[in-house]
């Protein structure tokens, strides 16, 4: 076993263990874990059978096999980042909708309070939850 093989194996096993532990602690949702597990498995495969990498790069016509590895790795990272950006956009849209709903509900509550002579539980009028001045 060459040093490269051991390095690849150890790296991907660490990733897999970390994934397992994070999922066990509810720190990672399985929809994100799946893609990282696939990445780790791909690393293990390449580390165990380096000839796969050599033959593929030869077939494509790359002189340095490591370049194929770098290309693959950068593509994976790009796709993952893109997915995160889109998830972020969805979350922002949801946050925005929630903020708008909260504002409308707050207004409705204020209007009901103003119309209803029931005790106001320590509220004078308008907003008291704002930072002073």
């Amino acid at each position: 076993m060459s040093g490269v093989t051991i390095l690849g194996m150890v790296g991907s096993i660490i990733i897999l263990l970390a994934l397992f532990e994070m999922m066990r602690r509810h720190r990672l949702r399985e929809k994100y874990a799946l893609i990282w597990a696939l990445v780790a498995l791909a690393i293990i495969t390449v580390a165990a059978f380096p000839s796969l990498l050599f033959r593929t790069s030869q077939a494509i016509g790359l002189e340095v096999p490591a370049n194929l590895l770098f290309f693959g790795a950068s593509m994976v990272i790009m796709v993952l980042t893109l997915q995160h950006s889109s998830e972020l956009g969805r979350l922002e849209e949801r946050t925005r909708t929630l903020a708008e709903e909260i504002a409308l509900l707050r207004l409705e509550i204020d209007q009901h309070r103003a119309a209803d002579p029931a005790p106001r539980l320590g509220r004078q009028s308008g907003r008291t939850d704002e930072p002073a001045e």
Binding site: A99, E100, E101, L104, R106, Q111, R127
Partner: protein, 275 residues
């Protein structure tokens, strides 16, 4: 005003110096309209001053930008059954004396824009890339709306029920989304758009930049925003941005309010009866 229930929506962000005067002026010009100030996460006394001036204040928990503030306003208008919604800036740039004229035009259109540059003697002058951007946007939107529009970046706007129901679900928060893209959406949803020439006043606190770099950046961003608005599959927003209440309670885009049975009498204080 022909018995219309009108809601005036004023998006305000840190406008404590201008808001009181603006509200007082609107009150004077259209006394029978309801006033809703959307406090867009202001850190100053905007909400308190607006309340003191007699407006209803809807406080957003944090700053969402004009798009978020306006969608909140249109949702309020839709849920409370208003016949017309007015969008007007808090900084006093828009003269509320034009409101009656804008509202009158709602008989023939779904969205009426208070537009600059419509007459040759308009004192509001813009030059350079900023001007090109405005002309380009206006030309494209004119073609889309099949009418002559001269100022599509105006935030002075009146909408009827049909347009309110469109804006309550689709009002983008992105750059230029609150003006240009929302008009594209309205036009694509089948709303008719028209404009009334207005003169706008100079901002109380000047912000209009004269830097050519900023103007060029504005031009580029305007083109990107316009192209995106034109190619965008906008109903996709519905999935994340709307609530069932708006979709079911409002008129779906493409249905004209004239074709729908008249709304039941609206109760005071929005005591909505929910199923």
């Amino acid at each position: 005003m022909s018995g219309r229930r009108v809601l005036i929506i004023v998006p305000a962000w840190n406008e404590q110096d201008a808001i009181g005067g603006t509200i007082a002026e609107i009150r004077e010009c259209v006394p029978d309209a309801d006033l809703l100030v959307i406090d867009d996460g202001s850190l100053d006394l905007t909400a308190q001053r607006a309340q003191a001036a007699g407006a209803t204040v809807c406080p957003l928990p944090f700053n969402l930008g004009v798009g978020g503030a306006m969608r909140t306003g249109y949702r309020y208008a839709l849920r409370n059954g208003y016949d017309a919604a007015v969008q007007i800036d808090a900084d006093g740039q828009h003269d509320p004396r034009y409101l009656a004229r804008l509202l009158d035009r709602l008989d023939t259109a779904d969205v009426v824009i208070g537009a600059r540059f419509a007459t040759s003697d308009d004192p509001y002058k813009v030059r350079g890339p900023r001007r090109w951007a405005m002309v380009l946007l206006a030309r494209v939107l004119s073609r889309l709306a099949k009418t002559r529009l001269t100022d599509v970046t105006s935030g002075f706007r009146v909408s009827n029920r049909r347009a309110i129901s469109v804006f309550a679900t689709h009002y983008p928060a992105e750059y230029l989304g609150d003006t240009v893209e929302s008009l594209v959406i309205a036009a694509r949803a089948g709303c008719t758009i028209t404009q009334v020439p207005v003169t706008m006043r100079a901002r109380v606190a000047g912000r209009a930049s004269h830097s050519p770099i900023k103007a060029a950046v504005y031009l580029c961003r305007a083109i990107v925003a316009l192209v995106l608005a034109l190619v965008r599959d906008w109903p996709a927003q519905l999935e994340e941005g709307s609530t069932a209440e708006d979709v079911e309670g409002g008129l779906p885009p493409g249905v004209h309010p004239g074709a729908v049975a008249p709304q039941p009498e609206q109760q005071e204080h929005q005591q909505e009866v929910r199923p």
